[in-house]
Symmetry: C2
Subunit: 413 residues, 2 copies
């Protein structure tokens, strides 16, 4: 039985009908709908000679034993944000299942290396505001102290929520043993951005996930009456913050990457007062760690210059940070080749959003991702979509990548 | 008995002890503390041959009948914001009381024209968010439809709150008859800004109150993922709004006046998304109506230019507007002369904040104000303060102004 990309599309539609409503996908991790999704996934694997189990962090594994214990991992996550799209991230798991079927067929149940499909737990972090839970537990990167204190909107802690689905929080890093023989990790994902759409290309090879520097920047000025305070006497926190809005575009022109000021709050925030305190958030991303450091340095220097110009103070608070995760150069080449065998042209691009692949990469597993074009460049929304012909093409290209990677892993034995 | 400015300072201190606490003055209009303040004020007038009454809008009047019914009005407001300063605005009423005593003494109870002290009701608008209540009812400018719908934080309507202190909301404009014979209105006030402080001058003659254009400006862009959206694909509402922060300073450099962006809100307002919607408030003030119109025009044009540059839309909503109220040229001259007879130097300046004087001026009563220096340039705060020697000087200068104005009114009989 040959690879059947149409089956993947049909299964994705079946899943949409089962776990979505008029507002979109509702497969939020650790909810009953998510558990139902797992059951459905197991059913899809039922005809295959695979061992399945859930690890200590709630990640689900389906293992097709090969001649070697060295393993090629294919995966992603079935969970979604609330009111999410129909493809993020179940496309990756369902394409992996189709590829697994194909490999099983090709090698009559015994491929040269072990092949495993993984469904990571709670990639989205929708409930506790912390993404990549399952994969970071497995990679060892999870900050246990921080995670222990996480609460959802109802005040339920992450450990209590995990307990309710049979997971012992204190033991989640035991899942790390799953990566013992991991020799490569492949993940297919919708792009979630407009780059391939703008280029008119269906598929892209991903160079890695951006490093992220996320800070809150607060300018401290002085409240003053809007009518009685001469302009040259003001300590206007919004004046300094407003200058940053343009500066981040200059920074990306010089260094590449992306910068975003996503929120701005003002105190006292009334129409009749000069702004005393203005807080903005800055998110900076780059695939190159040195360039990211320069971007951060440039933003700091600019904020200090603007503060001085406006006679205000500035303070910075780091909210979050992650190193860039450049993917494996040889696997990037294989991904590019697989795409070129499927469609006329490939494109190499970084990933702005994080993915579970960043965690496997960080754990030292040779990793690569493939992107398929997103319509509208929009995700985490019910309007998220990709053309069906592109979905079929991506399953085909991902299968070719898996074949190449399997041979690559086998050759390294 | 000569004028006694020290008595005014002593009375202000007495009032502070009676109606203030550790957080500042608490004479919010229509509260029991405010009613107590009125009783205290009446006591201070007890020894004078004046008629007192409260008009249909809750304004309190003390009238010393003169040879003519034509009246010189001296006044201000005893109410304060919550946690307010000790001088805004009771200094004006208490200085007026001292001047009334002096005039009564000078003319042995029968001045050439009638002299009246007025304590306007609810100048601050602290409870219902609408300032100049009593004076605008009296001038006729009060928007009855708008005022009828005003509610405090507890949901009590202005008409109900007035009823509780014996005022019939539907009849407040009957207070207009108080201005029938008004020939001049004089008001002393703390500056509430740093202009006289910076110049090292105790007193200033006020040219009028600024006209105000108050708008909300909303830039409409598109939310997009901070990691996956290339900079040149963004419709960043904060980029356009941020440019306004600098533009308002360029506008005042060109046209004079003052501009303030007092608040900025962002939607969705999260660190990982480009800002879809950014709303800022803009407050523009100028003493000259034409210049104010040009300032508004310049801000609109800039907002449209920034919207176009950033591929976003912009919409404007007028929040409030008032015309400039230039004071009476001859009274400004008299005020300037009175100051120069008291201290070595005078200074003419506009008033950024509004005052009850804007309403008398709008009603066609020849009006002028005198400012006394504010320490820190701060008001509406318990740290609001003015040097005692300056308080004494301002009572002296205000008395000289009243004498001149009385003669001026008398001469026009």
């Amino acid at each position: 039985m040959p690879l059947n990309p149409k089956r993947t599309v049909a299964e994705l539609k079946e899943l949409r009908a089962l776990t979505g409503d008029e507002n979109g996908a509702q497969r939020v991790a650790f909810t009953p709908m998510w558990a139902q999704t797992r059951t459905w996934l197991k059913d899809k694997l039922a005809g295959l000679p695979v061992e399945t189990h859930t690890d200590a962090a709630g990640n689900f594994w389906a293992t097709l034993r090969g001649e070697s214990d060295r393993a090629l991992l294919l995966g992603g996550h079935m969970d979604s944000v609330p009111n999410g799209g129909w493809l993020d991230g179940c496309l990756n798991v369902m394409a992996a299942v189709e590829v697994l079927r194909h490999i099983n067929e090709q090698y009559q149940g015994k491929p040269p290396v072990t092949v495993r499909v993984v469904d990571w737990a709670d990639e989205e972090g929708a409930r506790f505001g912390k993404s990549l839970f399952g994969s970071s537990a497995c990679s060892g990167a999870l900050d246990m102290t921080e995670a222990r204190g996480l609460k959802d909107k109802q005040g339920v802690t992450l450990p209590d929520a995990l307990k309710a689905v049979g997971i012992d929080f204190e033991r989640v890093k035991d899942s790390g043993r799953e990566l013992k023989n991991a020799a490569a990790y492949l993940e297919l994902h919708i792009e979630q951005g407009p780059v391939l759409l703008d280029l008119g290309l269906p598929l892209g090879a991903v160079l890695g996930t951006f490093g992220v520097e996320r800070h809150a920047i607060t300018f401290h000025g002085q409240a003053a009456h809007s009518g009685s305070t001469p302009m040259n006497r003001r300590k206007d926190a919004f004046l300094a913050a407003g200058k940053m809005s343009q500066e981040i575009y200059r920074i990306t022109e010089k260094h590449g990457g992306v910068c975003t000021i996503g929120s701005c709050t003002t105190k006292p925030g009334i129409v009749t007062s000069v702004v005393e305190e203005c807080r903005i958030t800055l998110d900076q991303r780059h695939l190159d760690a040195k360039a990211l450091a320069l971007m951060l340095q440039a933003a700091r220097a600019a904020s200090e210059r603007f503060a001085q110009e406006g006679n205000v103070r500035v303070s910075w608070e780091r909210l979050w940070q992650i190193e860039p995760r450049p993917f494996h150069p040889e696997l990037i080449e294989l991904c590019d080749a697989a795409i070129k065998e499927t469609v006329p042209q490939s494109h190499r691009l970084p990933s702005g959003p994080l993915h579970d692949a960043a965690e496997t990469c960080g754990a030292g597993v040779p990793t690569v991702m493939m992107f398929v074009q997103s319509l509208h460049g929009i995700s985490h929304n019910k309007i998220e979509d990709t053309k069906e012909e592109h979905l079929e093409l991506c399953v085909t290209a991902f299968d070719k990548l898996a074949s190449k990677a399997l041979a690559w892993v086998a050759a390294k034995k």
